[in-house]
């Protein structure tokens, strides 16, 4: 029994906890481009100071949070009706409807983002359609804008929103809704006072599952966004791979963790609670 606990424990300490400690240590080091690896260990807060004084980094943080928040909201507005419709479908139909939501998740993330490149390009399928149909003679290019990043995030993370919402709605006791309407509640107030509060755990889980990865997203802003929109995941990537500034990249990682520690803990607590309740 001890071995069963020790093996995964040890693995996670060595490959997860220890590396996070290393990032913390390195964020306090100074950049030394002529060394390999390009760092000089020490106790310097220069990287953090740069992060908080340079406008570029500040702008990247703010736009990451803003884009992640609005995309999460759009995901919720799109995903809630879908999850609701699936949960209210006849039981034999539900597995198929649910499978259709999950299927894109099993195909490659990279390929799903790639699919939008061909759609949104200047001479892409969307613009061709707009010109051909006469809806717009001179449509602008969406690829390379913040719109494209939003679209990409909503598209890629929609299954993560629908699944927890469906799980919450499926467990819902619909007779409560009938009771509300028997007592004279109109559909909208009944929804707002019965369905919505009861599906709240699903809403929280879904939003966190979209928001947390979206803040640190790299692939979507890199492939769909242009050079104008900065997101913090891309900043970290560029500092590391292009500028070889490992201490600065580590400092960005630490700040990202501090920023997300609240949402992450909230998600963990909810996950554990729902597992232990069943």
């Amino acid at each position: 029994m001890r071995l069963v606990i020790a093996l995964p424990y040890l693995w996670l300490v060595v490959f997860f906890l220890l590396p996070l400690g290393l990032v913390l240590g390195l964020s306090l080091a100074t950049n030394a481009p002529d060394l390999a690896p390009p760092v000089e260990l020490g106790l310097s807060f220069a990287s953090f100071k740069l992060l908080f004084t340079d406008d570029l980094y500040l702008a990247a943080w703010l736009s990451s949070l803003r884009i992640a928040a609005t995309s999460t909201l759009v995901c919720l507005l799109l995903g809630y009706p879908m999850a609701y419709a699936i949960a209210r479908a006849t039981p034999p139909r539900r597995p198929l409807l649910l499978m259709l939501v999950i299927l894109p998740f099993w195909t490659s993330f990279l390929i799903r983002v790639y699919a939008w490149m061909g759609l949104l390009a200047e001479n892409g399928i969307l613009n061709q359609f707009l010109r051909w149909s006469g809806l717009m003679s001179d449509p602008g290019t969406i690829l390379g804008t913040e719109w494209a990043i939003h679209l990409g995030i909503v598209y890629a993370y929609l299954p993560f929103m629908v699944l927890p919402l469906y799980t919450a709605l499926e467990k819902l006791d619909w007779s409560l809704l009938e009771a509300a309407s028997d007592l004279g509640a109109r559909p909208l107030p009944a929804f707002l006072t019965v369905t919505l509060p009861l599906s709240l755990p699903g809403i929280v889980a879904g939003c966190l599952l979209v928001f947390i990865p979206a803040v640190g997203e790299f692939v979507i802003p890199d492939l769909l966004g242009g050079t104008r929109t900065l997101m913090i995941g891309k900043v970290l990537w560029d500092e590391f791979f292009t500028n070889s500034d490992w201490p600065l990249a580590s400092a960005v990682a630490i700040c990202l963790l501090i920023l997300l520690v609240g949402p992450i803990l909230l998600f963990q607590r909810q996950q554990q609670r729902s597992l232990e309740r069943t």
Binding site: M1, Y9, F16, A85, L100, L236, S250, I264
Partner: protein, 270 residues
């Protein structure tokens, strides 16, 4: 009222599924495009299919990705089984709270953060111990670490669904803990292990960010190849690859759904 609701449900789902599947459908259609320009239709052709199967760099990358996915999914399933079992069946031991959060954390950790931290670990071990060389081993270890969480969650949820009376009965009848585990617990959670393995396999096959950090200079996995080609713009060969990936994923998922349904039906009929 009910008709209105049915129409609402239909519209919502039609719109939602169109949004999810239209981009994928277009990728598949354009894999058969004659033109090099992915966005201009130039007639039906299979030349990009032939080109992909002669693209040695892409095939090598695919082979490396498959080997890594097989090894890492198997290791992640073994470790995830242990972690999920401990979380579901051992209510108290020293450091349990830390253990529980360590198991879930990689699921929600931003991938760029995990990537940089893993790379620092391998750079550190390279400096202190002189190895291992970055490549197959470092990529596999990284993939195991983040897919372990998914297996553990699936196993834990499955174990929580079963009450422990069956296991207790086996032990009361004189079975050792090990025999109980192999003959009672393991068959119970076998479906969870299969789906956990498949999940870990898919995650490993698809991962770009972690891999890019820890891969070193010599190895290139399939997503790394795809990424470096896609960065330069759309490429018909990528459409072909996408079509293959989608076909494999769809047939696996449909097969497993039909299979579970058949098992459920059989149990219901009895």
């Amino acid at each position: 009222m009910t008709i209105g609701r049915a129409r609402f449900a239909f519209t919502v789902l039609a719109f939602g599924y169109a949004f999810l599947y239209l981009p994928i459908a277009l990728v598949i259609v354009y894999s058969f495009n004659e033109s090099r320009l992915v966005t201009v239709w130039g007639g039906f052709s299979t030349k990009w299919w032939i080109a992909l199967f002669h693209n040695d760099a892409m095939l090598d990358a695919a082979w490396l990705s498959l080997r890594i996915a097989l090894v890492s999914a198997t290791l992640a399933t073994a470790l995830g089984l242990a972690a999920g079992y401990v979380l579901a069946r051992v209510p108290r031991f020293i450091g349990r709270t830390l253990f529980a959060s360590l198991v879930i954390a990689p699921m929600v950790m931003p991938e760029v953060v995990m990537g940089i931290s893993m790379l620092l670990l391998f750079v550190g071990s390279d400096q202190l111990l002189g190895g291992p060389e970055r490549g197959f081993l470092s990529i596999t270890a990284a993939h195991v670490t983040f897919s372990l969480a998914f297996v553990a969650i699936v196993v834990q949820a499955r174990l929580a669904d079963f009450d422990r009376t069956l296991e207790e009965a086996a032990m009361d009848l004189g079975a050792t803990p090990w025999t109980t585990f192999v003959t009672v617990t393991l068959p119970m959670i076998a479906p969870a292990l299969v789906s956990g393995w498949l999940l870990a396999f898919t995650l490993s096959l698809d991962d770009l960010i972690l891999t890019q950090f820890v891969a070193g200079a010599q190895s290139q996995t399939l997503p790394m190849r795809v990424y470096s080609s896609v960065r330069l713009g759309v490429d018909p060969q990528i459409n072909v690859l996408a079509t293959i990936v989608i076909a494999v994923a769809a047939s696996t998922l449909i097969a497993s759904t039909v299979l579970t349904r058949r098992i459920v039906d059989k149990r219901g009929a009895r």
